[in-house]
């Protein structure tokens, strides 16, 4: 048998993984959800056919969206996570004893159910009593929050589906409002390489740049995402990602990580020239 999962990264570029078997396929109110088993990447989750995570490389994404802000903000107690129905962000956050509360707002309860059944590697993140799950639209949830969170993690899908509202000025503006005076927001920031994704990336940066006094972008290498070169946004009211980076303090947490380290923290904010230019064009 020759069974492959394929995702079109552009009209002319196709990314494929050989599939051993399909574990789940279903349609929720919001999207199509599939889980596959593969030799190379282990189990992987797709939404509307787009790759969300694989067991083999999810650590890169989840470490890089959580640890950089945690190493900058001196005292994170209350965290809001938007999206992240797979539990990966929750798992990384739960490793910090100083965090007192994590609210996770996922629009699609089915994603959480499917991940709890098939992807315990990330869904184990939900098994902590500081984690509270809300199933609703992130844009709606955040409207009524003011001066409440130290950190907001936006773990969205692409801006062309249910996650569309999470790439808008109204969303970033309401995030600003929901953060405390020294709060930080990090977000999934698309890739700078392919046409449509790159435009979405620039738009997101423009919107965040307009909404926050400090807005920086950092990068990681994620093999199963389009182009493999992935960006994250770091937006903040007070702290700067490198000037306020507290290496000693983060090391004192004693966390063992597979991708993130304190040298890489600084390096991740050093971007290729063409990416600088793309960002500068919209600032």
């Amino acid at each position: 048998m020759d069974l492959w999962y394929s995702e079109f990264h552009t009209d002319n570029v196709k990314f494929s993984i050989k599939v051993e078997k399909q574990l789940y396929s279903g349609q929720s109110d919001f999207q199509r959800i599939d889980v596959f088993e593969s030799k190379e990447y282990g189990r992987f989750l797709t939404l509307d056919g787009y790759m969300m995570l694989t067991e083999k490389d999810e650590f890169i994404y989840h470490e890089m969206i959580v640890h950089p802000p945690m190493a900058v903000h001196p005292n994170v107690k209350n965290v809001l996570v938007i999206g992240a129905g797979d539990g990966g962000v929750a798992r990384e956050l739960a490793r910090y004893k100083i965090i007192e509360n994590v609210d996770i707002v996922e629009i699609d309860e089915e994603v959480v159910n499917v991940c709890k059944t098939y992807l315990s590697q990330t869904a184990c993140g939900f098994d902590d009593d500081r984690i509270h799950l809300y199933f609703q639209d992130g844009l709606k949830f955040i409207r009524s929050c003011e001066n409440k969170y130290d950190l907001i993690v936006v773990d969205s899908t692409d801006p062309f589906g249910p996650g569309e509202g999470l790439f808008t000025k109204e969303f970033y503006g309401n995030c600003y409002n929901a953060l405390k005076d020294d709060g930080i927001m990090v977000n999934q920031h698309e890739n700078p390489f392919y046409g449509a994704d790159c435009v979405a990336m620039q738009r997101a940066h423009k919107r965040i740049f307009e909404s926050f006094p400090i807005s920086r972008v950092y990068q990681a290498h994620i093999p199963t995402y389009p182009s493999g070169h992935w960006l994250f946004g770091f937006a903040s009211k007070k702290y700067r990602p490198i000037d306020d980076f507290d290496e000693k303090k983060w090391k004192s947490f004693g966390l063992k990580t597979k991708y993130y380290n304190t040298k890489l923290h600084v390096g991740a904010f050093a971007l290729p020239n063409y990416v600088w230019e793309l960002l500068r064009d919209v600032e």
Partner: protein
């Protein structure tokens, strides 16, 4: 309402499909020949679209003189809307309004109407020479919007003008406000006058449950229904409905005075399919639309300072009923004019609302909306309030200024005129239109006296970013007045 005919069929659409199967060689117009003549255009609009852009021919009937599929489709539409007859209109609801008026008015006929009518109504008066007798609408001063027609005022006006031939009612208004259509209709009929309803914003009343009364149910003689607004057909397509006392063959003659002889089958088939959809699924569809509007209204009212209004405005007369699918939001307490909120939404949030006037915005909620987009609208309004909230003193509220009609619109429009700076025009007679668009309701119409109050309003609206149209001077800095005064 029970339908007599099988609303499952769509005769025009079916005729177009049958024709496609026959692969007829076109040696007739349109010259693009099913799109073969202009690939760029075909690529842009799509082959399917170009393939049904066909001229009238035997299997497709003729809009000017329907005998087969268009006739059947019009009968289905009449059945669906509970009308005696229905006409497919391809020149916009404007053409339906004009046909209604011109079928009952001649030069010198008097017609009773509210002043906050759409420009198409006054245009019809310019063309046919009828004389308007205005019933000034009441104003809700808190919101700065004009309301419906008061039954008492209409009765008085009818008694004072027994020679008038018709009463025109704007129902619902752009903001969703309904008059007591049944009482107005009954009294007008008692006095031998026709009742014409500009029902441009009320196509859904015919299909939703617990909606305000429709023109046909109220016994009105004719109604102009914008199927392309709440009905979901293509822009520019519309229905003209007529009751049992209207001679439909004469009405067809009037329609043909100005209607194109090349009616677009894209528009006709969209009317046909939209009528089918609403007849079959309208009840569920509009229940959903109303629920979405109610949800958004509640959420917007929770933000604070905005006021999204609804049925609580009902007062038994000038707000006899309210169309809850309309999401109108009063913005002045945020410290922003409606037009300013409208512009911020578009420029900064990539959201287009139907219009913003001085005190309000109107977000049009329809069968094509999604929950996701409603969340974006509500959250944007919350974010705008956070960023822009300021004191609202000094903001102009009042939107309606009673006109002083001195000459019939036709006489004023065709009179000798001269262009003067708008600031220097007070006291003269206006020879053209000035209006904010949308909603396209005239601030000044031909034959009306220009006052300082009107000039102040025009300049304020311009300053807030309203789009002023209608005047010969496109920037509305100068205005045409009647030469030699009155």
């Amino acid at each position: 309402m029970e339908n007599r005919l099988n609303q499952n069929s769509a005769p025009i659409k079916e005729a177009l499909e049958n024709l496609k199967q026959k692969r007829i060689v076109p040696f007739d117009v349109p010259g693009h020949k099913r799109g073969m003549g202009n690939y760029e255009l075909t690529d842009f609009l799509g082959e399917k679209c170009m393939g049904v852009d066909i001229n009238s021919m035997k299997p497709l009937d003729n809009l000017c003189h329907p005998v087969s599929v268009i006739k059947e489709a019009e009968e289905l539409a009449a059945d669906a809307f509970g009308a005696h007859s229905a006409f497919f209109m391809v020149n916009g609801t404007t053409s339906a309004v004009q046909a209604m008026i011109m079928s009952v008015c001649k030069k010198g006929s008097k017609i009773i109407l509210p002043r906050n009518v759409h420009r198409s109504v006054i245009n019809a008066l310019i063309i046919c020479g009828a004389i308007p007798v205005y019933v000034n609408p009441e104003i809700n001063h808190d919101l700065g919007i004009s309301l419906g027609m008061s039954v008492v005022k209409v009765k008085e006006t009818i008694k004072e003008n027994p020679e008038a031939v018709a009463v025109l009612v704007n129902n619902p208004t752009y903001y969703g406000i309904c008059s007591n259509l049944k009482a107005i209709t009954d009294f007008a009929h008692l006095n031998g006058m026709r009742v014409l309803v500009d029902e441009a914003h009320g196509a859904h009343f015919y299909f939703g449950e617990n909606m305000p009364i429709t023109a046909m149910a109220a016994g009105a003689d004719m109604a102009a229904v914008s199927m392309h607004k709440s009905g979901g057909s293509l822009t520019q397509s519309s229905f003209l409905l007529a009751g049992k006392d209207i001679n439909k063959n004469y009405l067809r003659q009037i329609i043909n005075l100005m209607q194109t002889t090349s009616g677009s089958y894209l528009l006709l088939s969209s009317l046909d399919l939209s009528r089918k959809k609403l007849a079959l699924e309208g009840r569920e569809l509009f229940a959903k639309v109303e629920a979405m509007a109610n949800y958004a209204r509640n959420e917007i009212n929770l933000i604070g300072d905005y006021y999204a209004y609804s049925k609580e405005l009902i007062n038994g007369d000038t707000v006899y009923d309210f169309d809850a699918t309309k999401l109108s939001v009063y913005t002045l307490d945020v410290g922003l004019a409606g037009i300013e909120v409208c512009n911020i939404l578009l420029n900064d949030y990539d959201i287009q609302v139907e219009f913003g006037d001085i005190g309000n915005i109107l977000a049009y909620i329809s069968i094509g909306d999604t929950q996701k987009n409603l969340e974006r609208l509500v959250s944007s309004l919350a974010d705008i309030r956070r960023k822009y909230k300021k004191d609202n003193t000094g903001m102009l509220n009042h939107e309606y200024i009673s006109p002083k009609v001195v000459l019939a619109p036709q006489e004023a429009f065709y009179a000798k005129k001269k262009l003067v700076p708008i600031r220097k025009s007070a006291g003269s007679l206006c020879a053209e239109f000035v209006m904010c668009y949308p909603p396209g309701i005239p601030i000044l119409a031909p034959g009306e006296e220009i006052t300082e109050e009107i000039i102040d309003y025009i300049e304020y609206a311009k300053g807030k970013g309203c789009f002023l149209i209608g005047a010969e001077d496109l920037d509305a800095n100068r205005i045409n007045i009647l030469k030699g005064g009155r």
